[in-house]
Amino acid sequence: MKYNGEHLFYGELGHGFAVLSFVASLVATIAFFKASRNNLLAEQKSWIKLARTAFFIETICVFGIFLTLYYIISNHYHEYYYAWNHSSRSLEKKYLFASFWEGQEGSFMLWNIWHCVLGWILIWRAKKWEAPVLMVISFAQVCIATMLLGIYFFGAKVGSNPFALLRNELNAPVLFTNPDYLQFPKIYEGNDLNALLQNYWMVIHPPVLFLGFASTIVPFAYAIGGLVKNDHSWTKYAIPWAAFSGAVLATGIMMGAAWAYESLTFGGYWVWDPVENASLVPWIMMIAGLHTNLVYKSSGYSLKSTYIFYILSFTLVLYSTFLTRSGILGDTSVHAFTEQDMTTQLVCFILIFFIPAMVLYFYRSKKIPTIHKEENTYSREFWMFIGALVLCLSSIIITAKTSIPVYNKIFGTNVAEPEDPVFSYNQIQVFIAIIIGVLTAITQYFKYKNTSKNVFYKKILTPTIIALAISLCISFFGNINYDVKGAGFMVAIHIAMFAAVYGVVANFAYIWIGLKGKMKSAGASIAHIGFALALMGIIISSSRKAVLSENTTGIALLQKSKDYDPAENITLFKGIKTDMGKYDVTYTRDTFNTSNHKKYFELQFISKDGKDKFNVYPDVIKNNKGQEGNSANPDKKHYWNRDIFVYVSAMQNGTTDDTSKFRPVDMKAGDSVFYSNGVIILNSVVKNADSLNKKLLPGEVGIGMNMTVITKDGREYKAMPVVALKDNQLRNIPDTVIAQSLIIKFNKLADADGGKIELGIKEDQSIQDIITLKVYQFPFINVLWIGIIIMVTGFILSIIQRVRTMASIKSSKKRILVAEKIKA
């Protein structure tokens, strides 16, 4: 059958690129391998030339796939499943990138692209390490390329083709009997991008995170190259790369946390969700590797552990790919990613790197130089090694806990997370934080090899006293009483607070005590300050997170217990001020924004003392992709020391189909009448008053009924229905008391002599606009964000410093060589 309006060329082009990229990266792998094994210079050069050509073609292909798919999505060629399924015509332009990486093919492409970029930097800089390092990277490219193939190989489907056609993917035979199927509204419009992902963080978080993931391969590739060549000089080149990886991965992870904080309603930035853990663990391992690498460079110790940490860090990236993409996390994660059946392929992806790496390591391990003399306790390398070991164990513990679904799959058990999963992580990691915080503080005060005890204690004394003083102040006056989990945990939190403060103060002091204020070489200290600040932010914001939206409707909840208070939602009626602890909150109005399909609510917060008044605008976006209901986006009021975090947990739109009728009542001034929730009093009939005249048009005369509504619980509302007269024409202006769903209007004069009038009273049966609200307070959350920014800055400074020193060493060597030649 011939279908109308399809653009089949682009799909063939894209898939052609995908297949070619697979072949080119395979050629590059083999050629780089040959080059790394060949000792003859001429032959090596020709292999390198071939390899670079293949890698160049590979790069063109990878960018080709990316651009083709982007072209398809941005032009809304919905004959392609990917474009149809992840975007829509009404989607805002800026989210087109987000729809690009909503599916797993798009995120694999990101990974591919970053590998290419990193590969070219290495070809440019790595010199003799180019061949072995690029061999590993090219091989990873081969593996990722298979994920995008989508072809059948001996009956098994390998990968998933992002250029697959809608009519081949969607099981809707009736639809595709029509040659104009693209014109059907649902096809034409597109299946849209998931509502949760329509957020600006989702445009930048995945590229940064994937750069972080991709960069972990560089130290790994250096390590493999070192094992293959039995040459350990790679370690000095790997340091800036490991620092780079640490900086980018941290940024990517925290952008994800910011996204969770901004747009998800988990109630925070971190909940130890398996997907979050999976991205954190490789970072921790990379930091451990970076530190042992520094130890080896300065003291000759810890070479073996450097190998292990770099291998594990990359393996954990592969493992996290498996966890998040195989669908195995189904029951434990709030983020449930795709469930395309690629499990086998993903497991192979891990093993094909991990097993050869470990075999190679054990094969070489006898030849890896180790120092048998013991490290001095008063040496930097000793404490750095301990720190790295603690980091490694922390990441192993987190991985072991996150892997519960994997055990269930392998052993057929039915184990689930503990009752309070977040606490089960926190209670362990708080001790890790204490150890790492203190080590971060003291370790730089030790010198490599040996430090004189007196000098060490003398230098560390002042920062210790200052840190102790500050943290005691915070402990006593900071109001940290997180006793929900018992006294023991609270003590641990206070100690962790000290450790974090100690980390900040000691590293800050070290810039002057140890480095004499030389900012150029202060990268490590600055990164440590940032890390410790982030720890501080985490401890304060999570131990003092408070729920503000406590239920004040007066309905007692018996189940409320010491460690479990579920009554965290408050109901608001449109236009009615509601008591919420420290604040009175009013849901004033709402608007629907047609360009981003979000419904915004305006909520007015007025503090009880009247000093603070602000509006917040949380919104909801209608769910798409066949889901009903709405996804809520929080809004925040930022203060320098806290955030008020508000989101709409449920909503109900008012209905207009109202069937109740006006009830006629005869009244005269002073009379009262009951209604279902209280009493209505007619105070007086006014003929000339400001409040009356405001409602009249020019030339009208009118009378107003001045009324008071008193509810059962004693609240009072004013009402003034009006009747206006002009040229023998009556105009009725009813008045409403929204809070009581009451409408009152004038009917007629009942008994002109007695001053009796007939009023119509209607109790509106329609439902009002209602929202339920959840409000949290996060104190000092900014400390966390600032800490991360400082840490990343520190990383960047130290990378610059290292690259500069390496360059200057090289040029000075050259100068010496030239000088010797001249002499000769």
Binding site: N85, E339, L389, N414
Partner: protein
């Protein structure tokens, strides 16, 4: 033996102890029938909402009170009480993970995890159903 080795061994021992104690904390997935056998024990149920039974949620009266009946694949059912706001889309969800414990024959739920037809997931069947319905 080197000091670093001793420290390493101690730390590894602590890590193992931690994980063992963690194994003591973990809970289990149960069927409704087996959960009823263990009142008071924190369990995870995999079930879905029984739409033939009434669901009670009135945010006007109390936004933190939801009751409904859950039914599992074996056909057993139990009344669920959840002291929080109703998760959007709960009726649509094919699979609910209910965390809580059985008390007095009712399931006191602490947390509900929704397995929606699609969250990030591309469910080809759901998509097909969705589109076909609009065509016919």
């Amino acid at each position: 033996m080197k000091k670093t080795h001793i420290v390493a061994l101690v730390l590894i021992a602590i890590a193992i102890a931690t994980l063992i104690s963690f194994m003591g904390d973990v809970t289990t997935y149960e069927t409704i029938a087996s959960a009823k056998q263990k009142p008071g024990k924190f369990v995870n149920l995999i079930a879905k909402m029984d739409k033939s039974q009434p669901m009670n949620y009135d945010p006007v009266k109390n936004p933190n009170y939801l009751t409904f009946t859950a039914i599992d694949t074996l056909g057993n059912s139990i009344e669920v009480v959840y002291h929080n706001s109703k998760p959007t889309d709960m009726e649509k969800s094919e699979r609910l993970v209910l965390k809580g414990k059985v008390e007095d024959g009712k399931f006191e739920c602490k947390d509900i995890l929704l397995k929606c037809p699609s969250k990030y997931k591309d469910d080809a069947n759901a998509n097909a159903k969705n589109v076909s319905a609009s065509v016919q």
